[in-house]
Symmetry: C2
Subunit: 345 residues, 2 copies
């Protein structure tokens, strides 16, 4: 027996060990990436899409740099009922505004908001979309970008949803979190494309979804550059809507901020319709999905024939459902497709 | 001698080999990341900045997610004389416009452009910034985003710089390419923040700089979503400036598109001043740099006391140089700091 043979055999054992490890990793890669999803068309559509677009040699292969997936937020990644959390934030910012300008207390929509905050929840129905825009502009105008961040962060750390008594940031859908993680593990860049305020969502997108601020496209007002008394530069929010990131605005926002057509998009109302049709109209593999809120027990039931009031900006109407069928978008039934909705269940 | 010892010794040898490999990798990491830079304050400032912000435990450590570096393009990453390449593109798009609307041939600024293209280079001086904006709007309005991409790509593949007789995309500065690569190897996200057209720069940013389209912030017009006769959706360019990405607009654009203050910024004219001061005013380690064009032999000499005409949008004036000194920005002398300017030298 020479000195070579045993070390060679040791090397063989090392190789075998490496192979075993590699097999282990492979086995791990084969475990279910979407454990909170029930088997069905929606889950299968996601897995097929990811496999077809990422497997080398696949006719539908998409180079990593072009792997863009966009997600609406309210109602798609987290709860939007009974009211968008950002609307609650705006309403709860009104008392400070009224304190600074007491004459507003008797003027609508400020007076309506004060009623709502005193407990008259039904008064929310009186607020129109232009009212909300007016309130949003009034509460943020002239605020520095840094003060806005600090106040939004403070509110998010304190405010709680009335039904679950949990922070809004806990009310994300576990199955969608799994989709985000699965896509990123396959070199997809995940983006939020929301009708909500871009600067608001950026305060928590990284901590809550693993999506960095620069991958959040949302409604945005302009800012103005200026200098403090000590000469240090800062940005102030201006009452000028730069991007209304709803409906066609979502596609325009995607072009402005991303510059490529997504390969996958998920939404839940007619405010997402254009994003879904634009995504689906691209060549190669494209996946458009609609989240349907049909689980009145575990979450809320609204949309086609559910009888619950539509959300302010868009709605999941029968027409939208028909459009999904016609264009080949995949509908996700929260009731049937999701084993678990929240991680705290 | 048992069977264990030799395999153990083989394992030891394996460990030693691994250690050697690791050392080799370490040695490689120690090789000069900026070989086209001469030793000096500018090179040292870059290396110190990267080491201080990326070494675990350093008091100036910056978490990877916050590592943002922004670069002006014209005059900072590539040649901007005698005229921005995009301005050449716009001028060379005018004949097609005049062909479609012959009445324009006798109206300024279209008539001026036709003179320039016939060979009267001096006539370029007649064009004002509003003229250029007017031409840009006229040549792109009503064009679909996809047609714009295709035409810009075609032009870039054909057009050549008059001095070097090379494609514009070959005229990037090798030392700056090294900085981009060095930053990315240290988990920095590199961004272009240009006064040039966002959609124009996005056509080549990935191939030329390794910077994907979504990391290009530039001047941008609005787009409008619509449908072709066959029902397929598309975006058309609108004659409405959404973002004028010059001066204070660069900081406003950074907030809109990135949402974080950069840790490093590089520019070369007063059009970059606000970006550089905003970057430098952040807490922790911040590096602001100004490229000074002082090499009339290898490139061009213009700026403080160089006598060459300033570029249209901004200029490297004596006042800007003084500002750099006052605020602690690092000035890069192309003549002294750069061993090589172009890769083809």
């Amino acid at each position: 027996m020479t000195g070579t043979t045993p070390s060679f055999s040791a090397f063989t054992r090392f190789l075998a060990l490496t192979a075993l490890l590699a097999l282990g990793m492979h086995a791990q890669a084969q475990t279910d990436p979407l454990p909170s999803w029930n088997d069905g068309a929606a889950k299968q559509a996601i897995i097929t899409f990811v496999e077809e677009t990422t497997m080398q040699g696949s006719p539908k292969f998409v180079p990593p740099a072009e792997r863009i997936a966009t997600f609406d937020q309210d109602g798609t990644l987290w709860v939007e009922h009974p009211m968008y959390s950002q609307v609650m934030y705006i309403l709860e910012s009104v008392p400070a505004l009224v304190k600074a300008k007491p004459e507003l207390a008797k003027v609508a929509p400020y007076s309506t908001v004060l009623e709502i905050l005193k407990g008259d929840r039904a008064a929310i129905a009186k607020l129109t979309l232009p009212d909300l825009e007016k309130l949003a502009m009034a509460t943020l105008t002239g605020m520095s970008v840094d003060s806005f961040s600090a106040e939004a962060k403070k509110w998010l750390a304190e405010a709680k949803d009335p039904r679950w008594k949990r922070h809004y940031t806990e009310l994300t859908y576990l199955p969608m979190q799994e989709v985000l993680t699965y896509l990123r593990a396959n070199a997809y860049k995940t983006w939020i494309v929301t009708g909500g305020g871009q600067d608001f969502v950026r305060q928590y997108s990284e901590a809550v979804y693993g999506i960095p601020p620069e991958q959040v496209v949302g409604s945005a007002v302009g800012t103005k550059y200026g200098y403090a008394r000590d000469g240090s530069p800062f940005l102030t929010k201006e009452p000028k809507l730069l991007l209304n990131d709803n409906n066609a605005g979502k596609v325009e926002g995607i072009h402005l901020m991303i510059g490529r057509r997504p390969h996958m998009a998920v939404g839940n109302t007619s405010g997402d319709q254009q994003m879904l049709e634009y995504t689906k109209a691209g060549d190669g593999a494209r996946l458009s999905m609609l989240v349907m809120h049909d689980d009145g027990e575990r979450e809320y039931a609204y949309g086609p024939a559910q009888g619950l009031p539509a959300t302010k900006v868009g709605a999941f109407t029968q027409a939208l459902y028909d459009e999904a069928q016609k264009q080949g978008w995949t509908v996700i039934s929260m009731k049937k497709d999701w084993k678990k909705i929240f991680s705290f269940e």
